[in-house]
């Protein structure tokens, strides 16, 4: 999978580009991201009176109420596609479990003793499963909130609590995810936009994966 730098894109450095995410994977990722962002911003408008001003950006309170659930359903659909594609690669192995126990070292850039990461590191895998569970809860409770007039009271009373709790968990995960994917790990963002990373980047952050594709 290692690429030769195309002549037209040659730069001063003689970096080797490695394809990290295929066009299909990137499309799915950004579809999930956009739907999630829309659901988050419209949901937050109703979460707190101090954020109700967000509804003005999205067409007013009534529009936000009517469209947020559709944004959520789109998110769930796109996530289902992502899930089918990635769930096998996201399974945690023994190395990952040890990695998670040492995650505090990863956080302060002291990676001594940290098991090598495969295509996804254990943190990314954990985020994936967290978003999958939280997303399922959001979908189930969101459907209840969608039609309060036909839903039993007990389900509604549970959902008004679980939907925002799951939303806070998901948005919290998103904050960490965005920080890692942009500022904290230079080079990662290009992997998800243009689809390629340098061999140095791959060797440094996902050495097990890098070795694997080198062998191929």
């Amino acid at each position: 999978m290692a690429l030769k730098t195309p002549a037209s894109r040659q730069t001063a450095s003689t970096e080797t580009r490695i394809i990290r995410f295929s066009t299909a994977e990137r499309t799915v990722h950004w579809a999930v991201a956009l739907a999630f962002l829309y659901a988050t911003l419209t949901g937050l408008a109703l979460w707190s009176p101090r954020l109700f001003w967000l509804s003005a950006i999205f067409g007013g309170g009534t529009t936000v109420r009517a469209w947020h659930p559709w944004g959520g359903v789109l998110f769930a659909l796109f996530f289902a596609v992502m899930f089918r594609r990635w769930n096998r690669q996201m399974r945690l192995d023994g190395d990952d479990r040890r990695w998670l126990r040492l995650a505090h070292r990863y956080a302060v850039h002291d990676e001594s003793g940290l098991p090598e990461a495969g295509r996804f590191n254990a943190g990314q895998k954990a985020l994936f499963w967290m978003q999958a569970s939280s997303g399922s809860l959001l979908l189930l409770t969101g459907l209840v909130l969608w039609w309060p007039e036909i839903m039993p009271r007990l389900l509604r009373e549970i959902s008004v609590l679980i939907h925002p709790i799951a939303a806070v968990v998901s948005i919290g995960g998103l904050i960490i995810h965005v920080y890692m994917g942009t500022a904290a790990v230079p080079g990662a963002f290009r992997g998800m936009t243009q689809g390629w990373v340098t061999s140095e980047w791959a060797a440094s952050h996902h050495s097990k994966w890098y070795r694997e594709i080198r062998r191929r």
């Binding site: 109700f52 909130l145 008004v160 709790i165 070795r211």
Partner: protein, 287 residues
Amino acid sequence: MTTGPDLKAISATPGGAAATTRSHTVAKLIDTTTCIGCKACEVACQEWNNQQFTIGNFAGTYQTLPDLTHSFWNLIKFNESEQDGQPVWLMAKYQCMHCVDPGCLRACPAPGAIVQNANGIVDFNQDQCIGCGYCMTGCPFDVPKLNPITKKVHKCTLCTDRVSVGLEPACIKACPTNCLSFGTREDLLRKAETRVDALKEDGRPQAGIYNPEGVGGTHVIYVLAQADQPEKYGLPKDPRIPWTVALWKGPLKWAGNALLLGGILGAFLHYLRYGPKDSGKPADGID
């Protein structure tokens, strides 16, 4: 109308409403022992509020409809019961209770869609309503109803339009037995006590007032002959704002905001302290 000195609480508005100097609040008293089920109040309500009747299905009862609807805010419940081996009706007028601590208002996310006037009336402003239906879950009496076409909730306004110009609500005006009265809450609570005493003397030891504490009391007060069993009248025994709603609109809001703000702040501080990861490891260093 979302501002003004005559408001006590405004939905989704931090800080609530302006202070008020008003000392009297209004109330409606329903003496169920003298209700004859004539439905004059139902008709008056429909007439004054200019609403069409919904045609329901005959369900073997004299009751007009099984429940309140978005265009039917005043229902006489024909509760069937038994007394001394005889079937009896326990008539109970059902409508918004105008709670002192309204769960609908607490649940509402739209600023100004639900207001509580200083006189105690809880009113919905359909032009601010976004149709989420949260109030339906917040209300322990299942009163607010969503219009499926316009997606706005509606309920009894305690004829705030009449009250504000010195008239009594339409239902009160129409009642032929004086079972309904309107006045200050203080006066009516006293009147209710007098009536309960009379009922007790009359051999109804269970008689009492329904003014549920769980919602801080209500501005619609009942005299019940069997106050120990309000369920028999179709009234909840110990209504409270659901604890999940109270938790959601109280501590959860603060915890959630702290977590989200803390997350964003934490990411910034992490960057300042530790900076980005470096990718300097030469690729050849591996394997």
